[in-house]
């Protein structure tokens, strides 16, 4: 699924366009604990999170994550936006809660890439 399709599905507002809206994404991770994200293996994924601080952007950078979706309408601040711009990382904000946002993506074939490959 392309990042622009994820934006449409989650009715998300684009906050930073990382220049990768046409990139195909197959895996997603939903987490508020960045240590859990760092334990997660797939690169070039998207991250859904309710956490909103600069370490979310930095964690995404380390993991080569392509896009962060802030759920529950969490708004990244100017510092986070400029960090994302420097790193060509797309940021978007969805009003959906984490469970619903993840469910919508799963329904469309996105997977978590866990140990059982589901």
């Amino acid at each position: 699924m392309k990042i622009k399709d994820i934006q449409g599905l989650l009715e998300a507002k684009l906050v930073v366009d990382g220049g990768n809206m046409d990139l195909d994404i197959h895996y997603a991770c939903g987490a508020d604990m960045m240590s859990d994200v760092l334990a997660y293996l797939h690169e070039h994924s998207i991250l859904l999170t309710g956490l909103c601080n600069p370490q979310v952007v930095r964690t995404a950078e380390m993991m080569d994550i392509e896009c962060i979706v802030f759920v529950r309408g969490k708004q990244p601040d100017e510092n986070m936006k400029s960090m994302a711009m420097e790193r060509n990382l797309t940021l978007m904000v969805s009003e959906y809660r984490m469970f619903t946002a993840c469910g919508k993506l799963y329904e469309q074939g996105m997977r978590g890439g866990d140990v059982r490959g589901r």
Binding site: M33, S35, L51, Q55, E61
Partner: protein, 140 residues
């Protein structure tokens, strides 16, 4: 890359929002050096976890990174409280981080296990009340 390149960083313990700047800089430098994406990713994640740990538990410290044609060596040194039980600290999910840190997205007890997972070798030298030095390598 013929010569050894040495990078040094001082990590401030005062500002959590800046934690990870050293790891970010190393990642960018490795990208410019034509290092394999797999090695870059391993170094970035292992060092970032270590850098975050320094800020959370030890009020900062310093990091030296040596890049040679064979490997990337990371030495993370702090003068924090030390780790009383390394075996316990290495267990996934075990954490002494305060609730304040957990609310910032860290302290899930995955820091040291992730560092071990993403590095090829890892050694912990720690003395309670004196500090901790963690040495990690990632092969090129």
């Amino acid at each position: 890359m013929d010569d050894k390149i040495i990078l040094h960083y001082e990590v401030s313990g005062d500002d959590f929002t800046r934690a990870g700047e050293a790891s970010s800089d190393v990642k960018n430098k490795l990208k410019q050096m034509d290092v394999s994406p797999e090695a870059i990713r391993k170094v970035a994640i292992a060092m970032y976890e270590g850098e975050i740990n320094m800020v959370i538990h030890a009020n900062g410290g310093d990091i030296t990174v040596e890049i040679s044609p064979e490997e990337i060596l990371m030495v993370l040194k702090d003068t924090g409280p030390g780790i009383p039980d390394v075996g316990l600290a290495m267990q996934e999910g075990y954490s002494t981080a305060k609730e304040e840190i957990r609310s910032l997205g860290f302290g899930a007890g995955m820091g040291l296990p992730n560092m071990k997972k993403y590095s090829d070798t890892m050694k912990i030298d720690t003395i309670v009340g004196v500090g901790t030095t963690i040495t990690m390598t990632v092969a090129m």
